[in-house]
Assembly symmetry: C2
Homo-oligomer: 219 residues x 2
């Protein structure tokens, strides 16, 4: 029984890492579509999000089945409940990648990334990519050094997010109202993406080390 259970837990873990990789791919394509006004690529991200949703639902069903058949307690139970939460965060990260692609599609053939903040968005996107790839690796390897890396990237993103609002408030800002909205929303999506990444990282950390550092961030 115990052996079956361990194999099932391993399966859940691999499946979470698999979903994280799909999200990493979605983010990469979404950002490219956003930066280059590539409407076909944007469309691809939007269509592929249903697959992430499907995988999340399947994983959640698997987790509930484990709860029902194995009746885990203590740390095993927390791993399963934690997996349900991590899958929700990953699914939400997929949604945020889709939202970025939707911004690109909405503005096509124009570029949705306002010129004045394009370098800021590039850096935010790069950090988000690092976060989701690190999350996938963390889920697979439980290499705890990745947690600090993810948190560091998130801190830099928060700073960049704030700088977007300072750019908008600057007298030199000359974008149209619609571009201004795009900038605000894109920045918000990129920032939320990182929050969810941190949330997953903290849950892995808690489940592996048993220590919780008092997260009240993204769910």
């Amino acid at each position: 029984m115990r052996k079956v259970f361990q194999a099932e837990l391993q399966e859940v873990r691999e499946e979470l890492a698999e979903i994280a990789k799909l999200v990493a791919e979605a983010l990469s394509k979404a950002v490219t579509s956003f930066e280059t006004a590539d409407v076909e690529l944007a469309q691809e991200v939007i269509a592929a999000d249903a697959h992430i949703d499907f995988k999340q639902t399947a994983l959640d069903e698997k987790a509930i089945e484990i709860l029902a058949l194995q009746g885990p307690v203590a740390s095993d139970l927390r791993i399963i409940v934690g997996s349900l939460r991590m899958s929700a965060s990953l699914e939400r990260m997929g949604d945020l990648a889709r939202h970025i692609a939707q911004l690109a599609r909405l503005r096509y053939p124009e570029n949705a990334a306002p010129a004045a903040v394009r370098p800021t968005f590039s850096r935010m996107a790069e950090l988000d990519q690092l976060i989701i790839e690190s999350v996938a690796e963390l889920l697979e390897t439980h290499d705890m050094s990745l947690v600090a890396k993810i948190q560091g990237a998130n801190a830099e993103i928060d700073e960049l997010h704030a700088s977007v609002f300072r750019s908008v408030a600057d007298p030199s800002w000359s974008e149209s109202p619609s571009s201004t909205v795009d900038a605000a929303l894109a920045s918000r999506y990129l920032e939320r993406f990182a929050d969810h990444g941190v949330s997953v990282a903290r849950k892995v950390s808690y489940l592996v080390t048993g220590e919780w550092d008092g997260d009240s961030a993204a769910n």
Copy 2:
């Protein structure tokens, strides 16, 4: 054992309704602070959010304890897992109310609600209030007629959210870039609030009726 379990489920249900009522109060105050540039009220909402977070954590601990001690299966298990998800949605709704209050505080002594879309925001806020109050009632009474009411309000909010972006794109839009950002973010927060409300309503509906209508909305 069964009797204890039913009493515990009832406790979880009451606690969820209790959190929903706190969120309703937070939203009401947040919207007033946003509409009237009342920085003290905004501050109150921001401070009170920690209490909602605390109640969510306590409820989740209770749910996990039930899973561990009672090892529920079938529909009982789904109720507990559903409760974990509903509590996450409610906590997130509290965060969104806090974000609205934070916009009010950020712009004080100016008014964060741009004049051109103030009536739209008033209506969105009214609908969000109806949604969260209906969610609280639905959690308490399981009166399924509330589900359609919540979904109807959400549909109207989606329409109003889109209209904010049309207003911003209109040549007559004359707000500053920072006010434009506030409009975009406030609209987004009000729209997401409704999504989470629908998500909770659909989960209650699923748990009570056993029928799922294929939600892929907010988690």
